[in-house]
């Protein structure tokens, strides 16, 4: 295969997912410039490894590479500023869903239509929850696909989604209450 043919195939199978890739990178890195760098870096890695890609799920394969490129970016950043490492046991023991029961559907509907505020609530989540929520709710991927991209067991996908949604609802409730006089 010539370079040109390879590039054309790469465009058809991988680069069609550029929006998904950029969106994921944006959510993980929380910065437009870094998201751009990560996606560009991921494309180079993906292109070099393109011959080893098997199976029909080019999107999942590509997103896994994008995610890794994002983590490398964040690691580079961490060299300058220390960031707390995530620990499932340590961070996973927040309050259960019972504590959000006080949020009435009306309150929720009122606040949740504020896109910028909603955006900020997701951005404030720890990265491990943020990424599974974005992959599930915005990219609409299955547990199996998310498990392959994030490289965690399906059971962990489920528990992180549950915890992430609890945290998100708590944040929304907290911000809501605080906004009241």
């Amino acid at each position: 295969m010539t370079h040109g043919q390879r590039l054309a195939r790469f465009e058809d199978e991988v680069l069609v997912n550029l929006d998904s890739a950029y969106s994921l990178a944006r959510w993980i890195t929380r910065d437009a410039g870094r998201a751009r760098d990560a996606v560009q870096d991921a494309c180079l890695r993906a292109f070099r490894a393109f011959d080893q890609m098997h199976g029909p799920n080019a999107r999942g394969w590509f997103l896994a590479i994008v995610r890794n490129a994002c983590l490398d970016q964040l690691r580079e950043l961490r060299d300058h500023a220390a960031e707390v490492e995530y620990d499932d046991d340590l961070h996973g023991v927040a309050a259960g869903p019972e504590s959000v029961a006080a949020l009435t559907p009306e309150d929720f509907a009122e606040r949740s239509s504020d896109a910028r505020w909603l955006h900020a609530c997701i951005e404030a989540l720890p990265r491990e929850y943020r990424e599974v929520i974005v992959l599930r709710e915005l990219e609409e991927l299955s547990y199996k696909e998310i498990s392959a991209i994030v490289d965690i067991p399906i059971g962990t996908v489920m528990s992180r989604l549950a915890r992430g949604r609890d945290l998100l609802q708590q944040r929304m409730l907290f911000a809501h209450r605080r906004s009241r006089p």
């Binding site: 929006d19 969106s23 998201a35 180079l44």
Partner: protein
């Protein structure tokens, strides 16, 4: 099904990731348990909010282009190191001049000021090697970089410490823009290389201040006293402006 199990299955149920039998049991439990039903409704409301109101970012329009440019460059053999530099410089300088629609005309003319930014871009590209940008004096200390040029250059290059702004000083190299001796002070922003070219200009014909995109690179030019400056980078325009403002700040 009891509440504890229902709570454990709630997310998988909402996500359609349970088998048909479990789904039926869940539905039955929710119908008879107001507390669990409420949590289920909250989950659905959260999903609706996310999918309705959170705008999915799309890739910036020029990102695809710059990726394709980079992938395309992979097909070309790596640039040999410095031994062949002078003819490459000549070749790239010449082809840039041609590309700039100057044709052979420029050979017979006094140096055109407009073509200098194009030379700068050509030199920026020529200095990019797989190991990083070509450097004569590698140091992140401006008090090491600046004195190195004494006796090698007819003017003292401006070297600033911009690490607080995120731009790390990599070093500097002697360079040429057309027939002019120049210096390139090299910074790095994440994966981007930022070259600041400066050379002795002409007070009568100062380099016009401006910015442009040349061969896909962002370029900013200005003139300061008897020195002319051109900054070339593949970082985006906003970052370049931030860099230029910091570099020029007194």
């Amino acid at each position: 099904m009891n509440c504890a199990l229902a709570l454990r299955m709630l997310n998988a149920y909402v996500d359609d990731e349970v088998d048909a039998a479990t789904a039926a049991e869940m539905a039955e439990h929710l119908a008879g348990c107001p507390a669990c039903r409420r949590l289920h409704e909250q989950r659905l409301a959260l999903r609706t909010a996310l999918r309705t109101h959170v705008v999915r970012e799309t890739a910036p329009p020029d990102l695809r282009k710059s990726i394709l440019r980079e992938l395309d460059a992979l097909a070309r053999p790596a640039r040999p190191a410095r031994t062949s530099r002078w003819w490459q410089t000549a070749l790239i300088g010449a082809s840039t001049a041609m590309a700039g629609a100057l044709g052979g005309w420029w050979l017979a003319q006094p140096q055109s000021f407009e073509s200098l930014p194009q030379f700068a871009v050509a030199q920026h590209v020529a200095a990019l090697t797989p190991e990083g940008p070509r450097i004569d004096i590698a140091s992140s200390d401006r008090h090491v970089v600046r004195p190195w040029f004494q006796g090698r250059l007819e003017f003292a290059p401006m070297v600033r410490d911009l690490s607080a702004q995120g731009f790390d000083l990599v070093g500097a190299r002697l360079d040429r823009l057309g027939d002019r001796q120049a210096v390139a002070v090299v910074y790095r922003l994440r994966r981007h290389v930022v070259d600041v070219f400066s050379w002795r200009g002409s007070r009568d014909h100062p380099l016009p201040a401006g910015d442009a995109i040349i061969r896909g690179f962002n370029v900013v030019t200005w003139s300061d006293g008897d020195l002319d400056f051109a900054v070339v980078t593949d970082a985006d325009h906003a970052e370049l402006e931030r860099f230029t403002a910091a570099y020029r700040a007194r």
